[in-house]
Symmetry: C2
Subunit: 175 residues, 2 copies
Amino acid sequence: MAYRDLEQELCSIARPISVLGERWTLIVLRQAFLGARRFDDFQSPLGISRSLLTDRLVRLVAAGVLERRPYQSGQRTREEYRLTDKGRDLWPVLMALRAWGDRYMAPDGPFVVYRHRGCDGVVDVEYACAGCGQQHLSVRDVRPEAGPGAHAARPGPADDGHADPESRPAETRGR
Amino acid sequence: MAYRDLEQELCSIARPISVLGERWTLIVLRQAFLGARRFDDFQSPLGISRSLLTDRLVRLVAAGVLERRPYQSGQRTREEYRLTDKGRDLWPVLMALRAWGDRYMAPDGPFVVYRHRGCDGVVDVEYACAGCGQQHLSVRDVRPEAGPGAHAARPGPADDGHADPESRPAETRGR
């Protein structure tokens, strides 16, 4: 399988990974959330090659995560890169990575604590049930079932081992 | 900067990315959650080279995300790869990717719906406040501040642009 083919998989995990799963791409995204807009804002702190960074920015623009906007630099018009709404909606992905990093890769505790502007409470990613409100669910607490996208892709009985609830992920089976 | 140096950054987003942010690694992780254990369980559906897959598995084992366990294959003892507790705790990362994928890359709707085994409610990733309980927060709803890890790394006044709340990410500033 070519890496780009992940975009065609009938899987909403694989499709974003086709956009974000390459070396440096998630870090470029982090830089955007940290306020980087201009090419050098991204390039200087990372010290990666300009061609590699260009590739990553072009792909994120193509995916609609970043958009180019013109700005004046002396006599010249250049372009900066801004997060789109679609890009900003990736914030929970970075926060889920951060939660895991805080737990397993930050022995002295979190480097950054995120507080709610409304009440100053600590904000974090929860894997929670919209029905009963239970929080901190794990993979073992859930049961996957085929959704509308699976049925649209495969009219008739589901025969995809991935989407078929009868062949659900082993890690989610009851023990 | 070399990619592996991300592991040393004072940032709990960068550190996990140093483990997970390479091409195919997140997909290998998804395969593990789907029940893949043996080398061919990973290799066959993806069709990637055996050397590339070996590299990814070795790195995930080194990071403590997967562990090797022996199994019998005929006369031979081989090894399979199982998620550790640390690995299972990456589930919210995949679910955050999935939520975004469902929203932006699944035009016919989700391929898989995850339901709580307890009550059958739909389970999803929330970016929520532990103080007031408000859910569906965005990057604009939060204010980062230096945490204990930042203070431990830099005794004295914080001078790290990343962790210092006064130089917080532009994308989180009030508008």
